[in-house]
């Protein structure tokens, strides 16, 4: 099992290296810079997707990741500035996400609300709340630059820059994989999604499990949201999320609800995200293809990957269905 995993990961690394060398030949991109950007772009996707994979395994759905991204980003930057500490800002962003996830869970479990509609509502609400808060807090509707001191410092490993949050995202994906497949909690989560009545009959609390996973998922999405302005971009703009919450959902579905798989797909989408601006300014491409089209690349890649990967995916039987004992 272990050896197979290592072989698989080596194959992925080999493929990725080949792509990078090819890109260097074709476009003249610096592989190191490209990897650095790719990992940054991967991080929020990986965090949110790993959490949502766990969540959907328990039969819950949160399609409001985009909304959580936006709201917790603002909350995170605000707290970072108030406390003068970027890490506390990240944590606060995560807590806001967890709170949103928890509230949505309670409403859907006890109020029997439709989770898809709630998620949609959250996304739409966030679209309005973001510019409002930008204006209300900082007075600028379009753009806010947090002071340099609160931004997260990147780690420098022999000249290779990597964010500590990226490392955390990878560790979290691995941890969630172990929880899901090796521990009792994971067994309960899977049972809650596949056959909640069986979990109940075995003497477990279905609703408890189904409140834990959205809270974890919300926390990770919130962390990813706060990561973007505090680390990735170093700024916050009106529509900075740019559909990344939906791309995270694409990672979840493509990976067949596996936290580790989500990490892999987040890497692919992160690469597309990092590559788009590079391709857009490449001589030869710049003149012939409108740059707007190139910037749409991450979304086109998402569409293509989901279209291919989604085939034969088996979702939990009780996904999105509230549980009650009749």
């Amino acid at each position: 099992m272990m050896i197979r995993g290592i072989v698989r990961i080596s194959i992925y690394v080999a493929i990725l290296s080949a792509i990078l060398i090819l890109l260097q030949e074709l476009l003249g991109t610096d592989p190191k810079a490209l990897i650095q950007t790719t990992l940054l772009a991967m991080t929020p996707l990986a965090l949110a997707a790993a959490g949502e994979a766990l969540n959907q395994r328990a039969g819950m759905v949160n399609i409001g990741i985009e909304g959580i991204f936006a709201i917790s980003a603002i909350a995170g930057v605000y707290m970072a500035e108030v406390l003068g500490n970027g890490y506390l800002g990240l944590l606060f962003g995560g807590l806001v996400g967890a709170l949103i996830g928890f509230i949505m869970a309670v409403v859907s479990i006890y109020g029997k609300a439709d989770q898809i509609i709630m998620g949609m509502g959250l996304n739409i609400a966030a679209m309005g709340i973001t510019p409002f808060l930008l204006r209300a807090i900082w007075g600028f509707p379009g753009l806010h630059l947090p002071p340099k001191e609160v931004l997260i410092q990147r780690l420098d490993i022999y000249g290779f820059q990597i964010s500590i949050v990226t490392i955390a995202a990878i560790v979290i994906a691995i941890a969630l994989h172990i929880i899901l497949h090796k521990t009792y909690l994971g067994l309960w989560i899977k049972a809650a999604g596949e056959a909640p009545e069986a979990l109940d009959a075995a003497g477990h609390n279905v609703n408890m499990i189904r409140m834990i996973t959205p809270t974890i998922g919300g926390f990770l999405a919130g962390l990813g949201g706060a990561f973007m302005p505090l680390d990735f971009f170093g700024s916050i703009t009106k529509e900075f999320t740019a559909g990344r919450g939906f791309i995270a959902l694409a990672c979840v579905i493509s990976s067949n609800l596996e936290p580790m798989g989500s990490l892999g797909f987040a890497l692919i989408f992160g690469l597309a995200d990092a590559l788009a601006p590079v391709i857009a300014i490449t001589p030869g491409v710049k003149e012939s293809v409108p740059y707007q089209f190139i910037l749409a690349l991450p979304y086109i890649v998402t569409l293509a990957v989901v279209a291919i990967a989604v085939k034969g995916r088996k979702l939990p039987r009780a996904l999105g269905i509230p549980y009650s004992r009749e």
């Binding site: 009792y184 899977k190 003497g203």
Partner: protein, 521 residues
């Protein structure tokens, strides 16, 4: 209790149990029940008598509205199934409580590790496997531990469920209609096994509506009727007639009408003919594997079989709800293979589906609106002057007539279909479908979940239809129903028709064997 003559004190006593569901249904009206160690107690009653509700209360799934439970004379309160499990009470539900995608071993882990402290603990697969193997060898059972439950036959799933119960150390085992999905052979095995369990000192509660099984396996029987105990007796002194009388009360018991069928049904061309039909299930596996059937005018052709042998897919394929992979369906000379349901209905076929709440009714729409389903394109219900606009007055008039003719008990035409009882819902479906005036009727488990009165009403209607010259294809997992109504009986097993018998040559034993996959000689 005095009438149990010199026995020990009851292990469990339930006293004055009342259950009112949130929607106002009064399921139990004050039930007293005693359970002794080492006995097999039959809980007999019709659908809706309250058997399952009573046992769900004992197993912690439901809380009683009023009433108390005593174990060994001490009062207990169950908030959750886990409280009951801790007391050794486990209920095997009719459709089982196993996670289908898990292996049996993983399902056992689900009951092995409980409580907050185990949350992040690694799965104890080895410990559980050891314990399970030991139990299996003590019990003399055979259950594969490493195969996902969904790939196991129903009988094995049930054994896995019982293994789970014993794994947690249950000494009170509740079985809800345990034989409803089993072949006769599997049922025999189950009976042998629970008798052994009872001899070892466990209490087994056997919920059923099949009188024959109660007499075969139980020591004592309690009959419930409409949420009350109608009677209690030691099984040795019980007769089927007595139990049946207790079960249905003063109402007349349906007598089997065996009208000699003198119609020469096999003359002439079949009105519905199915040739070499192959149909896939939702997962893409073939479940109907080459079925040939001919239905003639003026007959009821019964399709008997244990549920899950391709009946429902066969019906869906004939009625246009599922695509046909191979083969053909000819209705009255018209090829209806892979045609839309509305095309098929137009050519004279109606469908009384098994899952009426989902396929035949819109429960949250009004009764008269439900009467129009499938008839919305019929000009008779349209406005005189403006074409294609529905004239609701006409619809209401038609609905009123149907309600009267089929004696449907409904508060008003404006009530939602959900407000109707199961029996009245089925009457409404049948009333509407018959108003379409069809030549072929596909009826799938038409009396499932109905009370005695509605059951006999539905059966009478099916007979009338046949007498008026329609062809009726009756698919039912209730063998008694098939034997009572059918002129010819086809037995389906594993997606194939194993044989077609005429009523005269049909013997219960043969059909039972064929339902279990054994070809009768």
């Amino acid at each position: 209790m005095d009438d149990s003559g010199g026995r020990d004190r009851p292990y469990i006593s339930m006293r004055g149990i009342v259950k009112i569901y949130p929607d106002g249904t009064l399921a139990l009206r004050g039930v007293d029940l005693d359970i002794y160690r080492g006995e097999i107690l039959g809980l007999l009653g019709e659908n809706g008598a309250g058997k399952t509700t009573l046992m769900k209360i004992l197993s912690g799934f439901l809380r009683p509205t009023r009433g108390l439970i005593y174990i060994d004379g001490k009062e207990v309160r169950f908030r959750d199934p886990s409280d009951a499990i801790n007391r050794g009470i486990y209920m095997v539900h009719q459709h089982f409580s196993l996670v289908p995608s898990f292996t049996v071993l993983e399902n056992l882990c689900l009951v092995h590790g409980r409580g907050f402290l185990t949350t992040l603990k690694g799965l104890d697969l080895d410990i559980v496997r050891e314990k399970a193997k030991k139990l299996l060898s003590v019990l003399g059972l055979d259950v594969p531990l490493d195969i996902p439950v969904e790939n196991l036959p129903v009988g094995v799933r049930q054994r896995a469920e019982i293994l789970k119960a014993l794994f947690i150390g249950a000494n009170v085992l509740i079985l809800d209609e345990p034989t409803s999905l089993l072949t006769p052979y599997e049922a025999k095995e189950l009976f042998r096994f629970i008798k052994e369990l009872a001899q070892k000192g466990a209490a087994v509660i056997f919920i059923t509506h099949r009188i024959r099984e109660v007499i075969e396996v139980t020591d004592r029987v309690v009959v419930l009727r409409r949420g009350l105990v109608a009677g209690e007796m030691i099984t040795r002194s019980a007769t089927p007639e007595k139990l049946s009388e207790l079960m249905v009360g003063g109402e007349a018991i349906v007598r089997r009408e065996i009208a000699t069928s003198e119609r020469n049904i096999l003359a002439g061309k079949p009105i519905l003919s199915v040739r070499g039909l192959v149909v896939l299930d939702d997962l893409g596996r073939p479940v109907v594997k080459g079925v040939d059937l001919d239905l003639f005018q003026g007959e009821i052709l019964g399709i008997a079989g244990v549920e899950g042998n391709g009946q429902s897919e066969l019906v869906e394929a004939i009625t246009g709800l599922r695509s046909v992979l191979k083969g053909s369906v000819i209705l009255n000379g018209v090829d209806i293979t892979n045609k839309t349901p509305s095309y098929i209905y137009k050519h004279g076929l109606i469908h009384i589906p098994s899952d009426r709440d989902r396929l035949a009714l819109a429960l949250d729409m009004k009764i008269y609106e439900n009467v129009l389903i499938g008839l919305q394109r019929n000009p008779a219900y349209h406005h005189n002057i403006i074409p294609r606009i529905i004239n609701w007055d006409t619809v209401k008039k038609a609905a009123r007539e149907l309600i009267k003719r089929f004696s449907i008990t409904a508060e008003s035409l404006d009530a939602k279909a959900r407000a109707l009882s199961g029996g009245n819902r089925q009457r409404l479906v049948i009333a509407r479908e018959l108003s379409k005036g069809a030549k072929v009727v596909i009826a799938s488990n038409p009396t499932r979940g109905l009370d005695i009165a509605s059951t006999s009403y539905v059966r009478t209607i099916l007979r009338e239809l046949r007498d008026r010259g329609a062809g009726v294809l009756l698919v039912s997992s209730d063998l008694d129903e098939i034997l009572e109504l059918s002129d010819r009986i086809a037995v389906i097993y594993d997606g194939k028709i194993l044989g077609i018998l005429s009523r005269e040559e049909a013997k219960r034993v043969d059909i039972g064997l064929m339902m279990g996959g054994v070809q009768a000689s």
